[in-house]
């Protein structure tokens, strides 16, 4: 095994072009587990933690693939509340100090915590190689269980997101109250100016995925210009449509039936919280419902 330590992105891309079998490692929260447990013996490790370009975020927003979760929580909570909420549920504080959104995308586990938020908030993944840069919408990034749209010579460089223009929520079910992998998860983003909603499920299908019928239903059922208290029937229907968007399996973490049920509950609740926030804003209150 080789251990490769590029100091710049350009150098890293050159190495990756020459050594497509080199496995990128940043926070190590997935790769090292595979190494420690002999699940993987790559020909080389490509350490990305020395590359300054990956560790920065810029207004706009372009979040470097190597920005750890803790910085998203601490520095980007106001602009990216959904991503910050999801980041807060990732593993332990030690994992959040080290793990990155880039790593979440690289692993492309259906249970990755940030995926539903990236989908629901129209994130675009910036990937690069010596051949150039590609911008891949999140909805086109996840191809299968632990498979993503990266070519062998490409690295994930950044995630592009728009600062939230409306309320966002994230919710995840696990069988422990902390440090738990998602049994299933759900993210919602409201785009009031565009009369539009983003909704996506995690850990409930071979890939994280959007719930387009649920999104369309809300877009037509909600009046963003003159928001009124939500009807229970709207919440229920939304929950049903979110649940239907999932195609979960039975596994050691939970049953398919439970996942579908829980998604409907989370969809109803998070919509309620998001809408409450919108109503509160319209009424001049700055109160946020989330602790």
């Amino acid at each position: 095994m080789d251990f490769l330590r590029p100091e710049t992105l350009a150098e890293a891309l050159e190495i990756k072009a020459e050594r497509p079998d080199a496995v990128p490692i940043a926070g190590g929260t997935d790769v090292m587990v595979e190494l420690n447990y002999d699940h993987r013996r790559p020909a080389a490790l490509l350490d990305l933690t020395r590359i300054p370009e990956l560790q920065q975020w810029e207004d706009g927003l372009r979040v470097g693939a190597g920005v750890p979760y803790v910085r998203i929580i601490d520095e980007l909570g106001a602009q990216l509340p959904g991503l910050a909420m999801a980041s807060r549920t990732v593993g332990s504080p030690q994992i959040r100090n080290r793990g990155t959104v880039g790593g979440n995308l690289g692993a492309a586990s259906p249970a990755g915590d940030t995926h539903p938020v990236l989908l629901a908030s129209d994130a675009v993944i910036e990937v690069a190689s010596v051949r150039g840069t590609r911008m891949i919408p999140a909805a086109e990034f996840y191809l299968g269980v632990k498979r993503n749209a990266l070519e062998p010579d490409e690295l994930i460089v950044a995630v592009h997101l728009t600062p939230a223009k409306g309320p966002q929520q994230f919710s995840k079910v696990g069988t422990r109250n902390a440090m738990v992998i998602a049994v299933c998860s759900f993210a919602i983003s409201l785009f009031p100016q565009e009369n539009r909603v983003g909704a996506a499920v995690g850990s409930a299908a071979p890939t994280p995925r959007r719930a387009p019928e649920a999104e369309e239903f809300l877009a037509s059922a909600l009046d963003f210009k003159n928001p009124k208290p939500l009807l229970d029937s709207v919440k229920r229907e939304f929950g049903e449509l979110v649940s239907r968007a999932a195609s979960p399996i039975d596994d050691v973490r939970g049953s398919a039936a439970y996942r579908k049920h829980a998604l409907a509950v989370m969809a109803r609740r998070t919509l309620g919280w998001a809408w409450q926030e919108l109503l509160a804003k319209k009424n001049g209150s700055e109160e946020r419902p989330c602790a």
């Binding site: 090292m32 587990v33 190494l35 490790l45 504080p93 030690q94 100090n97």
Partner: protein, 153 residues
Amino acid sequence: MRVNVTVNGEQRQADDVWEGESLLFMLRERLGLPGSKNACEQGECGSCTVYLDNVPVCACLVAAGQAQDRSVRTVEGLAEGDQLDPVQEAFVEAGAVQCGFCTPGLVVQAHDLLDRVPNPSDPEIREALAGNLCRCTGYEKILDAVRLAASRR
């Protein structure tokens, strides 16, 4: 490969490091610092928590090579000679130590918490320590220890 790393303020060098080795293995088996513990090696227990460039991380999830030219502080580097750090002292006094296998990781993690938040609330302590499993105490006396240490700092 060779890894040069500052550990507890000292410049250290490890030779013949296998590229797939973790920082935890290198500390424990090559640098004579077994204080950080090997309870799960998958980032699910916190017992290997060390400071890496002043940020607490699971040493089992850091590749040894990633520590090149970085600074590591382990549980062995918290006391000043015979003088325990207040967090260490409080853990012994409060009865927060039973088998003690989780203790090194908890001590480092609590040390970091109190550096950042001198007087944490109970929910803050719990959220900060939620990545450190303890199987002996039920955590009550660990909370007592953190509160005691906070009151003394």
